[in-house]
Amino acid sequence: MELQYFPIQILLIIMMFWPISRAYFHYKDGIIKLSGFLFWSCLWLMGVITVFYPEFLTYLAQLFHIGRGADLAVYVALALVFYLVFRLSVIIENIRNDITKLTREIALMNKNRHGEHK
């Protein structure tokens, strides 16, 4: 079987390997955990696979009784984005609570009474 790849596909594949490499270096530097590296790598590899074999997405779409592979990709991407936004909002809320706890601790430690200075 002769494989033909359009320039856009080659470009997309190269572009998708860049975030995988960033994820690897972040993992090496301890910025993200192994689970994070694997998650993002799998995500981008899925993107590479679909660029290589667009028919695969069509096959999956038919499995789920969805019209086109591109539609499936959009639905999955949307669900993923909503999930990530939810996770981020939880993380941000936790950070806010931690900041408040710290502020409280400092205030209680530096209690000021009638002109005393700490």
Binding site: V90, R96, N97, I99, T100, T103, R104, I106, A107, L108, N110, K111, N112, R113, H114, G115
Partner: protein, 229 residues
Amino acid sequence: MKSLCIILPAYNEAKAIGPVMQKLQNFVKKENDLVIEIVVIDDGSTDQTFQICQTFNVTVLHHIINRGLGGALATGIEYAKMHNFDFALTMDSDGQHDINDLPKAIKLLINNDADVVIGSRMMGQKGMPKDRLIINFISNVFTYILFGFWTTDSQSGFRGFNRKALGFINVKTQGMEVSSELFTEIKKHNLKLLEVPISVIYTEYSRNKGQSNLNSLNVVVKLLLRKFR
């Protein structure tokens, strides 16, 4: 002798807090049945609130950054718990509350008639602008729908707690939605709640400074998020 901690969260209240402090100090001098400590939580004010409070015989806890009403109240409640107060009472620091309403709330707590006392502006209904009456009623309905607790003034800043209630209350919200969150805690721990009518002193200053009507929508959204998180 029993002890009472009067907690006043304050954010940029330099224009109003001086007279409030003076009135409270006068009240403390006349009160012989309780040991009272006034605790102001300066919630990251950028004006002279902290400096003004320092000139009075009060305790000032200073948040280095603003954390919101809930954050400030939680600090005050934490202070009351740490120092083993028998009772705690929260008030607004903008002069909206009448010091003369303190004794009726304190009496209910001392006599063990209630674990929590809420000062209700709706019961008094003197001096409350019509738009605030409507917003308050809507807030009461939301508090009931979301937390299963009916009160005539869910947004009141005038609240009293006995030691038992202080031990249970655990404020997690940070903004104005804390007023409604407290009712969740009251219901969760089966605390006995009584409401007392209080007067409300609205001035142009307190109206401009206080929660805007539009912010009520923000409070509802935050309460919904908290409920369904």
